[in-house]
Subunit: 217 residues, 2 copies
């Protein structure tokens, strides 16, 4: 079922930009934030393995400390919400078993019926093939969730900014991730643009569609 | 501006699944496909560098050849559309200059006014810091576009399936990417699920939100 008009979808994607300055007074409503959290949970991942965890940092003092681990970008403290996208490190057999267990719970099937699926995942990931780094792979999956988060927010009229310019090791330390099996990959702020954000009014820069999309006829 | 109701957004994300079997008779309309291509063009990327190219494979013979490079997954030929997500390899100074040039065109600003932005990008990427692989970075960016593609399709009522289980080197060879500076990273099919796709009716498997999203209070 089509849930959005084509023009409205494109308009919101054009409206979206990497917001540099947020209005610290405007907060995302609990209902909208709940929707964004559900969007994160529903993000697709390879084999459905969900090799991630999302940390929503509410604590203002912690947010201030994270500013210092983010090249002093004030949006980390000023935006309504901050979410840290962490990968599950060194994903392996135990994670595959956890996923299979979850499938049995949700679908009411027997573990034995998933033997072929287990073999496929184990064959792909345990051990990983030469040149395949499971942490790089998990990082790519996390970027699917990041993309979905930014798009869902835009459709809800919420501004976001992805933050690659952070110090992941400092984030891990501050957030207590060190030794947890999870590691910071990237972060995103969400909220509402400040009236005086200089970037808000600038035309979006993209290459021509003919340069970016090529038809193979 | 909110463009979609929260419930409708979540409903469509729940409706989405990795479609294994497509109806080969049902085609995406030109207008919907145009919208999906625009979604790809509008996908966010770090610094706005767009380190990617998207190949839309219309040629049926080529699609059949790609099936063989995709562990014989028939969806590669049967789905309405196939898009290959390629990274720009070894992104460097020339790509940064191209991007700056594009900014001057789109925004009507002088190249000299972008000196600080040039310095920031060059400082980050040329040369990349130790342990930072620009191709891995480009691959992560491509997954943002992949995530946006799947979500936009779901909102338009279109089924998709991401395809990591492909042989990128064979794709590159078949698609003429070898030596082009671009390289296959991942692919996705899009179209409409077959009535007898066994996976379509199964409940979506996700961990509990409390396991996936953690509040730092």
């Amino acid at each position: 079922m089509k849930t959005i008009e084509n023009d409205a979808l494109i308009r919101q994607l054009r409206w979206r930009y990497a917001t540099k300055k947020f209005d610290p007074q405007r907060k995302i409503t609990p209902r909208d934030w709940q929707t964004l959290e559900e969007t994160l949970v529903l993000a697709p991942s390879s084999f459905g393995l969900q090799p991630w965890r999302f940390l929503v940092v509410d604590n203002p003092q912690m947010r201030e400390q994270l500013v210092a681990a983010s090249w002093n970008q004030r949006q980390v403290a000023d935006a309504s919400h901050l979410v840290v996208f962490a990968i599950k490190r060194d994903l392996g057999a135990a994670d595959i078993e956890r996923h299979l267990q979850r499938i049995t719970e949700v679908r009411g099937v027997r573990l034995e019926s998933l033997a072929a699926f287990r073999s496929m995942m184990m064959g792909t990931l345990v051990p990983p093939p030469p040149g395949f780094d499971v942490n790089d792979w998990a990082a790519r999956q996390v970027y699917i969730a990041l993309g979905n988060f930014m798009m869902a927010a835009a459709l809800l009229g919420i501004d976001t900014c992805p933050l690659e310019g952070i110090e992941p090791a400092k984030y891990d330390e501050l957030l207590g991730l060190a030794g947890s099996g999870y590691a910071t990959q990237v972060a995103a702020t969400a909220g509402y643009r400040a009236n005086d954000d200089a970037y808000a009014q600038q035309p979006k820069v993209r290459y021509d569609i003919a340069d970016v999309v090529r038809r193979v006829r």
